[in-house]
Subunit: 146 residues, 2 copies
DNA sequence: AGTTGACATGGAGTTCACTTCAGGTCGCAG
DNA sequence: CTGCGACCTGAAGTGAACTCCATGTCAACT
């Protein structure tokens, strides 16, 4: 649900943006953003303004974009934390690469499996169409939207 | 994890098979099978032998195969229950078809989204390979501290 | 000055899909 | 007959990832 292409961090003011704006932009919910920070998923504790409120920079935004990409490909919070920890330490590029590559491997496998299952699903659907279709000869655009 | 092609229900004896065997065959765990039954995911309460133990028929096996296909494409237990309920009632073929088709729709979208994210992941990996690769010419034996 | 709305914190609560547990029943090998 | 292992039930527990709540602080309007 929710396509997260992160509209290219359109102009984050130098003062940064508030958590509400980031929530709206990422679709993440302010609670979730705070939760992610608590869980050590951010590169560093988000800087605060005078009143103690978080101010996200465009760098934060693109990091979050990366998190979303990882999450939506099924990476666990624990693994994202690992990656964040590595990214906080210098000279860990190789390790990060290992994490990303093994994640990629899992994603590809998952993708393949889902596609196989989709075929099975299609077969089942065809069977139903066969059984029911004779009267259903109208719907077929692939859009079962309302 | 776990490819579930259900080795074509190879010869289920007329007496049916025990829950342990089904577990081994489906990779599902006896507890999960009982849980699914409790949740109303089976077509009917699995018949029991004299001692009250479940005996799965080959029909049960293939139904379970269907459940696995649905589950692995991300269908919730609640939706699988809905489908089971419909399948228990006669003349609901059209409704079942609707459920399956809208599920298919979601699967296809999810698939597309994951593929987009995979590309982003690949881009990120390439960047890391670029940054790290030049030195990656040999197997990194020791720990790269600092 | 007062009200409003966004944001803060620590902690509790929720949802989902299982998984484990405690205690009991059978069928069969020895 | 005695174990042993497989199975049974109802209920409680688990882990992941949020999500909500009570209470409190500020900044900015009107």
């Amino acid at each position: 649900m929710s396509a997260i292409s992160l509209p290219l961090v359109s102009e984050v003011p130098d003062s940064g943006m508030g958590i509400g704006d980031v929530a709206r932009l990422t679709g993440l919910g302010a609670d979730t953003l705070r939760y992610y920070e608590r869980e050590g998923l951010m590169l560093d504790s988000t800087p605060r303004d005078g009143a103690g409120r978080r101010r996200y920079s465009s760098a934060d935004l693109s990091w979050i974009g990366g998190l979303l990409m990882l999450r939506d490909t099924g990476m666990s919070v624990a693994d994202m934390r690992t990656l964040a920890e590595l990214s906080r330490a210098e000279g860990t590029e190789r390790e990060r690469l290992v994490v990303l590559e093994s994640h990629r491997q899992r994603v590809v496998e998952e993708l393949a499996r889902t596609m196989r299952h989709l075929e099975a699903l299609d077969t089942k659907i065809s069977a139903y169409r066969e059984a029911v279709g004779p009267a259903t000869r109208e719907v077929d655009s692939g859009r079962t939207e309302r």
